[in-house]
């Protein structure tokens, strides 16, 4: 059973990321050499009523494609967080 998840939203390969480019330039100006191809994504943490892993995956997948990510340019990855015994 799970009640927490983390959804990673990242830009698809080939989609330009001006924010990532700017971060890369700033890193270089700070002296961090050799960094290339910086991509900035999003992490969405969700807490929900405890449910099965299957149900959580299905619902989070729907949330991701309907709102959290734009499938035209973004990928998503769902990470379920197991409920720890102490927190129940």
């Amino acid at each position: 059973m799970v009640s927490r998840a983390r959804v990673f939203v990242t830009l698809k390969a080939g989609v330009l990321d001006p924010q990532g480019d700017a971060v890369q330039e700033s890193l270089a100006s700070l002296g961090f050499d050799g960094v290339h191809d910086v991509r900035v994504g999003k992490v969405v943490d969700l807490h929900f009523a405890e449910t099965s892993r299957e149900d959580a995956f299905a619902r989070l997948g729907a949330m991701a494609t309907k709102l959290l990510a734009n499938p035209v340019v973004e990928n998503h990855r769902i990470e379920l967080v197991e409920a720890t015994k102490g927190s129940q």
Partner: protein, 226 residues
């Protein structure tokens, strides 16, 4: 008959649009609210104005696209009603799936506010009926996310169906817009069952009065009131 002007939390070009519709064109326009489930009675056209709806949270237009009013706008568009989305309104139309593609951050990462040259490729059709095909005009753009992106298949379909409504005239050597990187220089596209939906990044309401620097945008808003 009247234009329904939809306000979201963070719309900020709404009053400019209302001013042009009611004072310059002297037509009928009424407010609609993002929480409304229906468009106002007697709505003959819908206008989604520019701004930073719902804080641009997640992605530009992503929150607005799922507000209750957008179900009504979608039904109106699918029934062939004229719908115009300007700037953030264009982003909302894309996020809601009424128009294909998405508006990404500008290629240079800057917010760009300047007047640009445009070619009205879809002149003579739909809401661009007031323009000649490929007529050259100038309008102001003011956006951070105007970099139109769609995959190759979608772009080909847009070209084949003649749904590219307007393009920036200044292109880079890849054929993308110099200003923001928009693919194929796309500044606006048609959609809907009869090309009755138009989304565009430039602001026609900002060039609708001669004393404010130009009237190239006026014919578009006039068409909305017909």
């Amino acid at each position: 008959m009247s234009v329904a002007l939809v306000r979201f939390l963070g719309s900020n070009c709404d009053r400019d649009c209302m001013h042009v519709l009611t004072h310059v064109i002297e037509s009928q326009a009424v407010w609609a609210w993002h929480d409304d489930v229906e468009l106002p009675p007697g709505t003959t056209a819908v206008l989604l104005p520019g701004g930073f709806s719902h804080g641009d949270y997640l992605r530009c237009g992503a929150m607005a696209a799922h507000r209750p009013i957008m179900s009504a706008v979608k039904r109106f568009a699918e029934a062939g009603g004229p719908v115009l989305g300007i700037c953030n309104g264009f982003q909302i139309l894309c996020e809601s799936g009424i128009l294909p593609g998405v508006l990404l951050p500008n290629r240079g990462g800057d917010f760009i506010c300047k007047r640009v040259g445009l070619s009205m490729e879809g002149g003579g059709t739909g809401l661009l009926r007031g323009y000649a095909p490929n007529e050259m005009i100038e309008l102001t753009i003011a956006h951070h996310d105007g970099n139109y992106f769609a995959d190759d298949a979608t772009l080909r379909a847009l070209e084949q169906k003649q749904q590219i409504a307007l393009r920036y005239t200044e292109l880079d050597d890849r054929g993308d817009a110099k200003a923001n990187g928009a693919r194929l220089g796309i500044a606006g596209i048609f959609g809907g069952p009869g090309n009755n939906v138009l989304g565009l990044m430039p602001h026609p309401e900002r060039q609708s009065e001669a004393r404010l620097g130009g009237i190239d945008g006026l014919r578009l808003l006039q068409e909305l009131t017909r």
